[in-house]
């Protein structure tokens, strides 16, 4: 093959527009990474704090309720719901369904709406019952 030949490239490689499907796709990866690295660290830390007794759990709870701790926990809650809804969408897509342009776009947007709503409801319930 002559590598110096000026061959035309398929236009789809250079002409494209950012869409909800791409946003949800990269968010799935980012939230999955965050949940694995930060989420599982918090899970192990939380269990270790409970295992350490009342005083060690008190320290964990104090940190968790600090502004920085709350940002991390609310962030992880959103990451969880986004990955959850996006993951359910992927399981449907794995069957070969839901690739029609409008359907695909609709459910991509719905995972974004759903994760924000579910995060709000989760924290409303957590704070609402005085935990």
């Amino acid at each position: 093959m002559n590598s110096t030949a000026e061959r035309p490239l398929s236009p789809h490689l250079t002409i494209w527009k950012w869409g909800p499907g791409m946003t949800v796709s990269i968010l799935h990866r980012l939230t999955g990474g965050a949940l694995t690295v930060a989420g599982l660290a918090v899970l192990a830390w939380w269990l270790t704090a409970v295992a350490g007794g009342e005083a060690s759990y008190g320290e964990f709870a104090k940190l968790a309720q600090s502004p920085a701790g709350m940002i991390v926990l609310v962030g992880l809650t959103w990451a969880f719901w986004q990955h959850f809804f996006s993951g359910l969408r992927h399981l449907v897509l794995d069957t070969g369904a839901g690739f029609e342009l409008k359907v695909n776009r609709f459910w991509a947007i719905m995972t974004l709406v759903g994760s924000l709503l579910a995060t709000a409801i989760t924290w409303y319930l957590l704070v609402g019952v005085g935990k």
Partner: protein, 132 residues
């Protein structure tokens, strides 16, 4: 690669496609994801149903079979699923085969270490002295 006529479609996809690997990994990741749908909702609803998240309540809940057994399954499945996901990220962005394998080793060790810390803590909660 010749597999003969008798190879089933599933057998072909389990690590024997053009990429030589990945099919089995893909299926496992789907399996753990379905399990996690159930277990993560269990964890969330359990936390929401507890009267509060104080030490005594958590200790009692995690010490019970209803807390400890699903939590054990959640820890194992979540670390496995997270590891599978990060391995795919490495496969996508690390093109040098040596680095790729080294990173897989490191991720696997980190996941087993992290999971062991969580499971040891849980065992300590369950089998340790009762809450004061």
């Amino acid at each position: 690669m010749s597999q003969g006529e008798s190879a089933t479609p599933l057998g072909k996809v389990r690590g024997l496609g053009s990429a030589h690997r990945g099919g089995g990994h893909w299926l496992e990741e789907r399996f753990t994801s379905v399990v996690l749908v159930v277990l993560s909702l269990w964890l969330l609803f359990s936390l929401l149903m507890l009267p509060d998240l104080s030490f005594g309540i958590l200790k009692e809940w995690l010490s019970s079979a209803w807390g400890a057994i699903p939590m054990t399954l959640f820890v194992v499945t979540a670390f496995k699923h997270g590891l599978d996901g990060l391995k795919v990220v490495v496969d996508d962005y690390v093109h040098d085969e040596g680095n790729r394998i080294a990173l897989h080793y490191l991720l696997t060790m980190a996941a087993i270490a992290g999971g062991s810390v969580a499971l040891f803590a849980l065992a300590k909660i369950v089998f340790g002295p009762a809450a004061a």
